[in-house]
Amino acid sequence: MDLTLTPKHRALREEVDAFIAAHRDAAPRPGGGRKRPDRKALDWQALLLKHGYFARTIPREYGGFGAPHDVIELAIIADAFSRAGISPGIHNQGISMLVPTLLEVGTEEQKRRWIGPTIRGETIWCQGYSEPGSGSDLAAAQTRAAVEDGHFVINGQKIWTSSAHFADMMFLLCRTEPDKSKHAGLSYLLLPMSAPGIEVRPLRTMTGRAEFNETFFTDVRVPVDQIVMGRGDGWHVANVTLKYERMLLGDPNKLQQRLEATRRMMEQPGADGARLLDRAEWRDRLLRLQGEVIAARNHNMRLLTETAEGVDSGLGRFIVKYHGTMLAHRLASLALDVMGSTGLLYEPQGEVAEDDPATTWQIDYMYDIGLIIGGGSSNIQKNIIGERGLGLPREPKAAVPAGRN
């Protein structure tokens, strides 16, 4: 363990703090679910990229800052933003899932082509994984792609494609080798949402917004080279992506951000002039969550170190999504409770304008439930933790399909 800050680290900390102080008014409000980044968010993102506060370790040739991997640096940056309650940049499926997937298994050409616009927030990706009949059972995907004239020709249907209604691109898991076994018959394709034959039908969610979609494919054509790895490797690539999705969904900086925001609310005098932070039952709830957030952040530092050193974190990584999403839900729960009846007001401003705090927290609170479900529900996570993390046996195959009693 060596977290000693070198003079370089101290300088970075001062630099980030100064940056935030100078630019905080330019930052979009954090939280509140998924929207297409507006001008403000894109400008903010560009500013962060320029200073290396985002995509810091991604090579320059792919559009990143190209800094060597330094866990402390990343922690200093994340900490500064979350302490200040300032957006640390865009986190979407392209940035947090596709980019690391391409970095891990993409070709040089794919990296050069896609990573830059994605991390700048210009190219928005959506994920074509789930289907109506296979939500948790991803490998049962039935959307098929046959090869004709150097193209995959895609037919089928996806669901829960978040952001599909405003996305530019999709990474798609589909069946290209119908003769092979369930898991071996899949491929992982990249395709533009503007391709003819794609129809997106928004799915309104409980937040009242259309954060998800059903996406229908009718003879959609994609050049055969827009595949990540080879034919039949789709399940492998999808699992690489899922690994990063689990990390994204358990992001401890978001947790810290929420904790700080809630603490600040509790420091404000209420209608009766008293601060909730001065009430021990409230303070204890906040403290309990603070302890858990500290554990999550320390754990994340450990994982970052292990990643940097090429160590496979195994169990340590498998738990992140389940742990983080449940904790995020509890943090949002506390925030709503702190706001009390005024926190019930819910007047979302649509896709572009900023929402008020009550609306934002309510969206987060509901959206959290979506995150607990999406990216592999908590039950799926527990299967992964139990089986891959702890080595417990799989559920045996049923002799007869279980139905009603």
Partner: protein, 365 residues
Amino acid sequence: MRFGLTEDQGLFGRSLRGFLADRLPLDALRRLAETGTGFDAELWRGLGELGLHGLLVPEEHGGAGLGMLDAALAAEALGYHAAPAPFAAALVMAVQAFRSAGDAEQQRQWLPRIAAGQARIGLGFAGLAGQTGRAALRLEGGRLSGALDGLMDGGEATHFLAYLADGRAALIEAGAPGVTATLRRSVDRTRALVDLDLAGAAPVALLQSSNDPLAAARRVRDAGRVMLAADTLGAAQNMLDRAVAYANERVQFGRVIGSFQGVKYMCADMATMLEPCRAMVWYAAYAQDAVPEEAAMVASHAKAHLAEVGREVARLATEVHGGMGFTDLLGLHHQFKRITFDRQALGGPERCRHDAAVAQGWVAA
């Protein structure tokens, strides 16, 4: 000498549920929720025909003269179906307010109008119940000024009953001079909140006939808390019922998901939390009428406990539905938000538990 519902009560609950199931299929509910006012004239009329308006109003004033347990059964049914209808404030707390602090003349004047569905009273309670938001009213020379946020059942109210810090309550006509009522859409689109700005408004009645106005106000608060607890009971039961039905239908990995212990145990956990709440709500409601020495304690406890259980059930039932639970497709979220509303209105669990401690003399108010 029995702990349970009477045959009449069972029948009443079932018929109300049947009525609501009939009137509020998902597409109708979705349409009514669009406005966010928590009111629909046709539904309101229908509920009136079932006797809901005058449920608690004494027979001499044109009501059914029933008790708080009957009202709780109604609240439960309304919560079960997420019905956009004024109730807890307009038909329970308001009646309780008149009965506990209105003089004979005020009761004679207003209770029949409530029972007839003509007076729909939004009610604001602020500091006395742990509500947040503005709560600064001044009564000077018979005129009321200031601001009071978050009045319940205020969406299409004809009147507002605004509590003062001293426990007295002023009845104000909607639209009267000096009255600005701003509809605020709440996350629960089946129930709105109203922010009231008053500039020298003239009350049409001032409820101040109680010897102990604060105690009278607390009884109104307690009645409201029991209703919100009952509403959560209904909403959570609805979510559990639907989760079980979905788990019996949905196939994944070649099996009905309810046959997986993972899903089954989520349902079992919900049932284990929720089932004892039913008797708790019954008793809390009954105690308001019949066990005065426990009424305040059990009302606050029921509100707090149902809020905690409700939040867990709301999450778990949504989880059982997977992605479908998160969409608008099944409309499960109406009950989810109902539970959110019930929790945050009239004081959250910490505040309610504090009030329960006060009621037992464990701590000073």
